[in-house]
């Protein structure tokens, strides 16, 4: 009797487990379907498009022309390299600017926390384009910022560093990196905030009890514990920044063109679809390789 009862409960548990087994997969289905339709299918289309030949008048035909990849790399490697360099610089700048701010919001802001957080997110209420155009006005030749930068000698320093070409700030590598940093800063701050907010103050107390200096506390406790936020923030900044085409176009000149702008004009102005598709793939692969090696090095696979 007892045995039978045990047996029967056992089998019903097993049955329940079996029934529940497919539930997670069923819940995955909409997401997978979404990814298939809006990611996998476009990827395949893009791949096939990159191997087509032709022109707009005659139409494009699939010829398996792999040479286009070589052409994409040999013609546009400077823009490719420049994009990675600008995005990298902007990411480092965003980290330097964003970390103290995120720390402040998470640990010190007290009842102002929510207000400051809203302020960080506030720029998202206007469009990306408008925010970048605003920089065009801010850095314009006939405005106070450039005037003061000239008076204080900032422009000559920037010029000596090769970040601007003349006595204006606009249309220079400086302006582009500024724009990128500004536009992607919230993507750095928010993940940093999320990890720093979970930082247990008792650990910091313990560190100081054990005679750690503030710097040692930061290096041995705060920084390692915030690494997941740092990795997430740098990725969220670096990846979109390296593909960005707005900042370089609005704030740069012909010597600051980034690969995103090249792809954009190849797709939308020149209508050389195969080359544009090939460029997109090359960029994709380069970023994948960089990100994979970065994450490996940071040793935080399990944190992502």
């Amino acid at each position: 009797m007892a045995d039978a009862a045990v047996l029967s409960t056992g089998s019903s548990v097993a049955e329940g487990r079996r029934r529940r087994n497919w539930v997670p997969y069923a819940l995955l289905l909409p997401g997978l379907l979404w990814l298939f339709v809006f990611f996998v299918v476009p990827m395949i289309t893009l791949a096939s498009q990159s191997l087509q030949e032709g022109n707009v008048d005659d139409g494009f035909v699939f010829t398996g022309n792999v040479a286009v990849y070589g052409q994409a790399l040999t013609t546009y490697w400077p823009q490719m390299l420049r994009s990675l360099l600008y995005a990298g610089t902007a990411t480092v700048l965003a980290l330097v600017l964003g970390y103290p701010l995120a720390y402040f919001i998470a640990q010190k802001a007290g009842r102002w926390k929510n207000v400051v957080l809203v302020l960080v997110i506030a720029p998202f209420f206007t469009s990306f384009l408008i925010r970048t155009l605003a920089w065009k006005t801010i850095l314009s030749d006939n405005w106070v910022v450039t005037d003061w930068a000239n008076k204080l000698g900032v422009t000559s320093v920037l010029q000596a560093l090769g970040l601007t070409a003349n006595d204006s700030l606009l249309f220079s590598p400086f302006a582009v990196v500024m724009g990128l940093t500004y536009n992607f800063l919230p993507f750095m701050i928010l993940p940093l905030y999320a990890t720093l907010e979970r930082l247990d103050p008792r650990l910091l107390e313990a560190a100081s009890d054990l005679y750690a200096s503030p710097w040692q506390t930061f290096r041995k406790v705060t920084w390692p514990l915030s690494l997941p936020g740092v990795v997430a923030g740098t990725l969220l900044t670096f990846i979109p920044a390296s593909g960005d085409f707005i900042n370089a176009r609005l704030l740069g000149n012909t010597q600051t063109t980034m690969i995103g702008a090249v792809i954009d004009s190849q797709f939308l102005r020149v209508l050389d679809y195969p080359l544009a598709a090939a460029l997109s793939f090359v960029l994709l692969v380069i970023i994948l390789v960089l990100v994979a090696s970065y994450v490996r090095k940071a040793g935080t696979e399990e944190l992502l």
């Binding site: 707009v56 035909v61 314009s140 070409a165 003349n166 204006s168 012909t254 004009s265 050389d272």
Partner: protein, 416 residues
């Protein structure tokens, strides 16, 4: 009578209209492919606009016809017009467009006027996927440059105009009538013609006038503050003329030499960038010190910014026409035709000219302008003398191969 000395049989202006871009020979070569494409299209999706995606068909397909939509003109009193910036009369306060308002008052048709035509290639890239897919572009009429009109007709993306709705078309200047890109003017009517030239802002150049293309591309005081047009025919035309070439018969070598000159300027950091019609804002502000510009734009910007200057280079300058076309599947074709008809009244065109400063294609405009403003009648940008026109040159038609090759080389320069 002055009118006549200006337009009738003016060889240069006539040549401007020959800028049909794909030469007759290549149009013929395309014809064979077209019938096959038409056949394929007939087998395939009927009712859809024949697309260019059907594989290796001809380049120049005069046979493709644009699909017409059911015309809603009588029930919906609107017309959607896409045009370039600074290309129509604006009231003193900048808030309304008097000639459009007068049109609405006269006909009851509301005009949704959008300035989203920044560059021929860019606009084409925007509407082509819609036209190819047989979808309405949401526009009833727009203004394309001569060579682009040739392409639109060739691909069957624009509809024939119903001249019964445009009685004023009789006012079309004789020199604009028979053009190679649209023989007999079945698909298009010109809106304005004008020159490619140099524009500059003396505030940003330190009071200096910019007189030649060489100066524009090499003067160190302009470093990083020069823009060129993405419009290949104007930029390359001006540079080739600076190098002493005749752009009505230039060779591939001439083209390359001009490209090299621009490349050099680019490598030296002289150029800020390549622009469509959106250079106007930067030029007026002084962020752009000097640029390749369109004559009327600079002239009309000058009204508000007197520090601007305009040079028609002594080495020669380009001449082009922009034309009204009605796209396939436009919902308000008749209203669009009424709009064109309205602007073909010399009195209306005269009002527009006082503001846009381009060359009007409507006979009698000069007399109408002179009646109100004698000074304007002598404006060389609006009513160029034989002397002014003598130095204007017209970019020769390109074969399909050349068009692909040149456009690719030029875009490699502008996009990277």
């Amino acid at each position: 009578m002055n009118d006549k000395s200006f337009d009738r049989d003016n060889p240069v202006l006539r040549a401007a209209l020959l800028r049909g871009m794909v030469s007759r020979r290549s149009a013929m070569m395309g014809a064979a492919g077209v019938s096959a494409a038409a056949f394929l299209a007939a087998c395939g999706s009927a009712g859809k606009n024949p697309s260019s995606g059907s594989g290796a068909s001809g380049t120049a397909s005069a046979a493709r016809t644009a699909a017409a939509a059911k015309d809603m003109s009588d029930t919906e009193k609107i017309v959607n017009w896409s045009n370039w910036q600074e290309y129509i009369d604006v009231s003193e306060d900048g808030k309304s467009r008097p000639s459009l308002d007068a049109f609405t008052k006269k006909t009851g048709i509301k005009v949704n006027y959008t300035e989203d035509y920044n560059d021929n290639d860019e606009f084409y890239a925007k509407v082509r996927p819609l036209l190819e897919g047989g979808t309405d572009t949401g526009r009833d009429v727009w203004v394309s440059t001569d060579w682009m009109v040739a392409r639109l007709i060739r691909q069957g993306y624009v509809q024939k105009l119903d001249m019964a709705n445009i009685p004023n078309a009789k006012n079309l200047e004789a020199s604009f009538q028979n053009v190679e890109f649209d023989p007999g003017r079945q698909y298009s009517l010109p809106w304005q013609a004008g020159f490619g030239c140099i524009g500059y802002n003396t505030k940003a150049t330190g009071g200096k006038k910019i007189e030649t293309i060489t100066q524009l591309l090499t003067d160190p005081s302009l470093k990083g503050k020069v823009t060129l047009l993405t419009e290949m025919r104007d930029t390359m035309g001006l540079v080739m003329m600076e190098q002493g070439k005749d752009i009505s018969k230039f060779t591939a070598a001439d083209f390359e030499a001009a490209l090299a000159m621009i490349q050099q300027a680019k490598d030296s950091g002289q150029l800020k960038g390549f622009t469509g019609n959106d250079y106007t804002d930067g030029l007026a502000k002084g962020d752009i010190a000097a640029c390749v510009a369109w004559s009327g734009d600079v002239a009309s910007l000058k009204v508000d910014s007197p520090e601007l200057g305009l040079t028609l280079p002594a080495a020669g300058y380009t001449l082009w026409t922009d034309n009204f076309v009605v796209p396939a599947l436009a919902k308000h074709k008749k209203n669009a035709e009424k709009l064109i008809d309205y602007y073909y009244d010399p009195k209306v065109m005269a009002e527009v000219e006082a503001w846009v400063n381009y060359i009007p294609p409507v006979a009698g405009t000069r007399a109408a302008v002179a009646a109100t403003d004698a000074e304007l009648g002598g404006n060389q940008l609006i009513f160029p003398s034989a002397e002014t026109l003598a130095k204007a040159q017209v970019f020769r038609p390109l074969t399909a191969d050349e068009e692909t090759k040149f456009a690719k080389a030029y875009s490699a320069l502008t996009t990277a």
